[in-house]
Amino acid sequence: MKRILRLISMTVTLAAGFATGACEMGSSIQQVKAQHEAELMAIPGVVSVGIGNNGKGEPVIVVGVEQEGEETLSAIPRSLSGYPVEVRPIGKIVTH
């Protein structure tokens, strides 16, 4: 009986794990960006978060930083849910 219960619980855990993974894989870049935006914007030195293309024309999450300081750069992940994160120094954004 115990073994059966353990087997069921393992199956459930595995299924849940796959489901989460599949859900993450299926998320659009817009969804992933929206999900992580607040934490990215809270990093000191980050001024913007948007969606752009990299040199190969693939969609990337673009994080704009005031300047490329080590502390800021080390706090920004390289990718989010499989989407590359590209850091671009854009300076201070002021009204024009």
Partner: protein
């Protein structure tokens, strides 16, 4: 016969008025003759025409002779020549792309003419027409803006009609519950003998989508539906990644760029330590500087896609025009 430059200039000068009197000729000067696209070393009188016509389309007296006083002529097509109009001058009617501003600001850009309930309005930014929330409805709008010499009452072109308030980060909260909680905490702090007092501030940044305002012209005829150096707006478009865009602004005039990012959330500095968070913005490369705020941003087909309002040395931040039009209930 070869001419010295001095001699050629004398001949050109002597024949200038005869040549300029011919229909179609807009300029004369001395230059080197161009043969089959190649510059030669033969001096000539260059006659610039609006449009090149075949000799059969012209009466004899309108034709430019092959040479004058032994000096060859050359005909080049330049189109009509207009004075390069400064964006900082006074214009009536005023087109988009020129200096404008609330009486208490420096200067920004008149975006374009828009309509609400069938009436024409000037579209620009809140921080240009409404002094970043500080203005009152009915305040005078000057063209050119005060920094460019616009003065009351002569240069008043419109009155402020409406604006979308900008929500700044860390501004005192309008939330009653937060205020009450802070009040209670401060009472407790007082009772505990603490000198520290709390102030209710919005911790959660409030989101802005547009920095926009409209002003009603004093006379409908004082504004033009054209945009300087661009022409009339030909409908509405939607900003997309990789789209080529252009604008005419008070400071940098006509410039072009490309939308490099969409769905942008960005912190914008408003001076005096005020910061506002904007979401759903378009970001282009460098195509703007201070004073260009309020410029209408158009695509390759002259469709309106955005309202420029901020940037850095390397980037330009643009409100989506669909957000501007829905926030202020506008149409073209």
């Amino acid at each position: 016969m070869t001419h010295t430059l001095e001699n050629a200039r004398a001949v050109a000068h002597a024949n200038r008025s005869v040549l300029l009197n011919k229909a179609n000729v807009v300029a004369t000067g001395v230059g080197y003759k161009v043969r089959r696209g190649e510059k030669s070393d033969t001096l000539c009188v260059v006659c610039s025409v609006e449009r090149k016509l075949s000799p059969s389309e012209l009466r004899d007296e309108e034709r430019i002779p092959p040479e004058v006083d032994g000096l060859p002529t050359d005909v080049v097509e330049t189109g009509p020549i207009r004075a390069l109009q400064s964006t900082t001058g006074r214009f009536r009617p005023a087109p988009g792309g020129v200096s404008v501003g609330h009486r208490d600001i420096t200067a920004g850009t008149l975006g374009c003419v828009v309509f609400r309930d069938g009436q024409p309005y000037i579209l620009s930014n809140n921080h240009v027409l409404a002094n970043s929330n500080a203005a009152n409805i009915g305040d005078p709008i000057l063209q050119p803006g005060p920094y460019d010499g616009g003065r009351l009452p002569d240069d008043r072109i419109a009155v402020l009609s409406d604006f979308v308030p900008i929500e700044f980060e860390g501004a005192p909260s309008g939330c009653g519950v937060a205020g009450n909680v802070v009040g209670v905490l401060n009472k407790l702090a007082e009772w505990a003998g603490s000198d520290t007092r709390l102030q209710a501030v919005s911790v959660q940044a409030r989101e802005n989508r547009v920095d926009a305002a409209i002003a009603r012209p004093l006379e409908d005829g004082d504004v033009s539906k054209e945009i300087l150096h661009i022409g009339p707006v030909k409908g509405m478009g939607q900003g997309e990644l990789g789209m080529a865009v252009k604008k005419c602004g008070r400071t940098t005039g006509f410039t072009q760029g490309e939308i490099q990012q969409i769905d942008v959330s960005v912190k914008v500095q408003y001076g005096g330590g005020r910061v506002a968070l904007f979401v759903d913005q378009l970001m282009a490369g460098a195509m703007s500087r201070g004073g260009d705020s309020g410029s209408a941003v158009l695509d390759d087909s002259d469709r309106l896609v955005g309202l420029l309002f901020a940037g850095s040395d390397s980037s330009t931040v643009i409100n989506r025009i669909e957000n501007v039009f829905s926030a202020l209930n506008l149409s073209l």
